[in-house]
């Protein structure tokens, strides 16, 4: 008997049939002897429909009123889900974020969770009922309704699981789990049975869309085991945790690796098309100028996900700096740089939105020259040029032409021996399930 928090995304509750299917799954979990608290997103396209309506009214909606509007979506899905569970003869009670004790700051549209006081949730669970909580929303100290922004429902689920000291937070979605690469791009991608939180963070930060970064950070900080599964199947999914009781510390070695303790272990690839490359042209090559340019950019953009490289032009006394960053941040970075142009002394900022980023995630990345060597060899053999490069302790990222990104991902997946082996019937020889789809799970 465990306490399970389940999160269902919008695609899992898109219509009455979806709600009924989710209700059956919840009741089955109860029947297996577990306490169940559920976090649910808005149904299917509800949020988009409300945003369309908003655009008919105004081009610049007020943040407070937009939050008030959008939180109607979960109110609808959670009440209907409670009814669907009742229809199966089981007690269930729905709660708004405020009712569930989810307190946030007052940054409408991207509120941060301050505290979760799930007294009412615990009371329902103690009485044997299913508690259903609206994802994505909370309440401020001023008694206003707030939303948590992107990845909000996942974050609600993990925060609730932490507050309830749940045994697991199940993220039920429309894919089978996390994969060694996006199965829509790499047909031989293998499903990963378990990942450390750090690995999951790097994969999600650099392109994998199944789990939102913020929910993994929350899970890591509060030691909540995450279990990503399909809401449409009973396949085993992917566990994300650093707890050795949940996730084995030494994953099964890949076929072409001896896997001694010091060898690098590549877990998977993430890729992202939504990248811009900025180049600051003709920066005077004087001490501190590079640092000043970095400082301007890091001040301007929220998520610092950049790759810098200098191209020194010989004997001119000027250098070029190139950065890659999410395309949604490029505009802000360009504006910030141009505002300081005379002070920084460069002649122009160019922007190229046609690039993409491929990231290899695993352990032992920095200490092993073998990983970049394998990576560059594979890209070179495929005729792909690397524009920029960056590394962290467990990640190595390259920026390439956007049109070559998928080919790069396939080549590198094969080069690192990540491809799943198929038997003569086309069934994976390791018995792992294959992806049915690989899409984001909404908010």
């Amino acid at each position: 008997m465990a306490l399970v928090v389940q999160k269902y995304g919008g695609s899992s509750v898109a219509d009455a049939d979806g709600l009924a299917r989710v209700a059956r799954r919840i009741v089955a979990t109860r029947a297996a002897g577990h306490d169940v608290a559920v976090v649910v997103s808005a149904m299917g396209d509800t949020t988009d429909d409300l945003l369309d309506l908003t655009r008919e009214i105004t081009r610049k909606p007020t943040a407070r009123e937009l939050d008030m509007l959008l939180t109607a979506g979960e109110r609808i899905s959670m009440a209907l889900l409670a009814m669907a569970i009742h229809e199966l003869g089981h007690p269930a009670t729905s709660f708004t974020g405020v009712q569930a004790g989810l307190r946030t700051n007052d940054e409408f549209g991207r509120a941060r969770i301050l505290d979760v006081a799930p007294d009412r949730i615990r009371s329902v669970l103690d009485d044997g009922g299913v508690a259903i909580v609206a994802g994505f929303q909370g309440g401020s100290a001023d008694d206003d309704v707030t939303t948590l922004g992107r990845g909000g429902s996942d974050t609600t689920a993990v925060a609730l699981a932490a507050a309830l000291d749940a045994d697991v937070c199940e993220v039920l979605t429309d894919v089978d789990g996390l994969f060694s690469a996006d199965p829509r791009v790499v047909s031989l991608a293998r499903q990963l049975p378990h990942l450390s939180t750090e690995e999951a963070l790097e994969l999600s930060a650099h392109g994998a869309k199944v789990l939102h970064l913020r929910s993994i950070e929350f899970a890591r900080r509060y030691d909540v085991p995450l279990h990503v599964r399909s809401s449409f199947t009973d396949l085993p999914g992917t566990w994300v945790s650093d707890d050795p009781r949940v996730v084995p510390q030494r994953p099964v070695p890949h076929k072409n690796q001896e896997d001694p303790m010091e060898e690098p272990r590549i877990r998977g690839l993430a890729h992202s098309h939504d990248q811009s490359k900025l180049t600051v042209v003709n920066v005077p090559d004087v001490p501190g100028r590079a640092a000043a340019i970095f400082a301007v950019i890091t001040d301007a953009v929220e998520s610092l996900d950049m790759i810098g490289q200098t191209h020194t032009a010989s004997d001119t006394g000027v250098i070029d700096f190139s950065f890659a960053l999410p395309v949604e941040d490029a505009h802000k970075a360009v504006e910030a740089l141009q505002a300081r142009q005379s002070e920084l002394g460069f002649t122009a900022v160019t922007r190229d939105d046609s690039v993409g980023k491929l990231s290899v995630v695993g352990s032992g990345m920095r200490s092993s020259p073998e990983v970049p060597a394998t990576l560059f060899r594979a890209l070179s053999a495929a005729g792909i040029t690397v524009h920029l490069l960056a590394t962290s302790e467990i990640r190595l990222s390259v920026v390439v032409e956007g049109s070559q990104l998928d080919a790069a991902t396939q080549a590198v997946h094969t080069a690192f021996g990540l491809d799943v082996e198929l038997d003569e019937d086309g069934v994976p020889s390791d018995g792992s399930p294959r992806a049915l789809a690989h899409a984001g799970s909404g908010r």
Copy 2:
């Protein structure tokens, strides 16, 4: 400078254009120097759409979850309305029933208002902003979301106006006000510039659908002047109040009335097709038996709106009782009577759903034999038989064949001199506006 509470029904905010039109009207009221608090219903068909979705899930939705679901409707309309006002450059803030301090008991689906503590509303008004409040909803002492049932948004508006000590509660709807009869039935119905609360109560209780009974009762108890107007025009509408500063005590006499103080003054007609006639057959004619039968029925049905009459069969020692009551209550009354059949000693209960009720409302009804005489003469001339009759201090109702109800209404309207006079261009000679439509205003 006054404090105005405005209530807009679902038909007034059915789409983005409607919301923009309502926003302009609100801003114009502000510009005229008034403080404005707004109560808004769910947009157009939102509630019906949510109920359709519910029926796909379950045939017996839980009352608590149904309230949670339906309150999403106002959340959407009020947030969008606030944005539409912002778009015109004016501050506006939306509030749920709970946020507006509307406290109710916990009877989900038909909660009663216990108290309104509009601190946040007052604060917004004090700062010069428009406060927008979700109609139809409140919160229980257990922190659950409740709905007020039929007429809920009107009731919210009047309760808020009372709590704020507003100068007027404007009910903005899709008709021009209250009329001397339903203009869809009586083409020469005249719009009534003012009514006492008692007259408005009788008209609404017996068929007029513009104002909900409950909101008039609230307005009467807390001395809130009601002003029913079209949200589509600037026509003067109908005032409902007993305050002589708001409503003249002596309305303008009709053309065929001398209007001395003691003469009856007919204000208008209400009609209702949704009536059933029950007949309890062969009741033993013993003392107390009639009272016992009345008691059974009044226990069984919520709204006591019945007309009883006895038809004594000579020399048999038994009598028949007939009642008229709303068709939605007929089933309950029949069941209650049949459960006590042996004790009450009657032989059968018959039910006839094909009847209708016409009510004449005005003052001096009981003391003047002239009113029933005029009524019966008009009906007789039109070949219409009266099944049942009931009177109150200011009302006289007759039950007739449902198929003859419209003809009865037209004949009686003319007989009491209520028809508006038209000049040769077809324009009302009294300058009163004419009805564009005459429909209910939703919740």
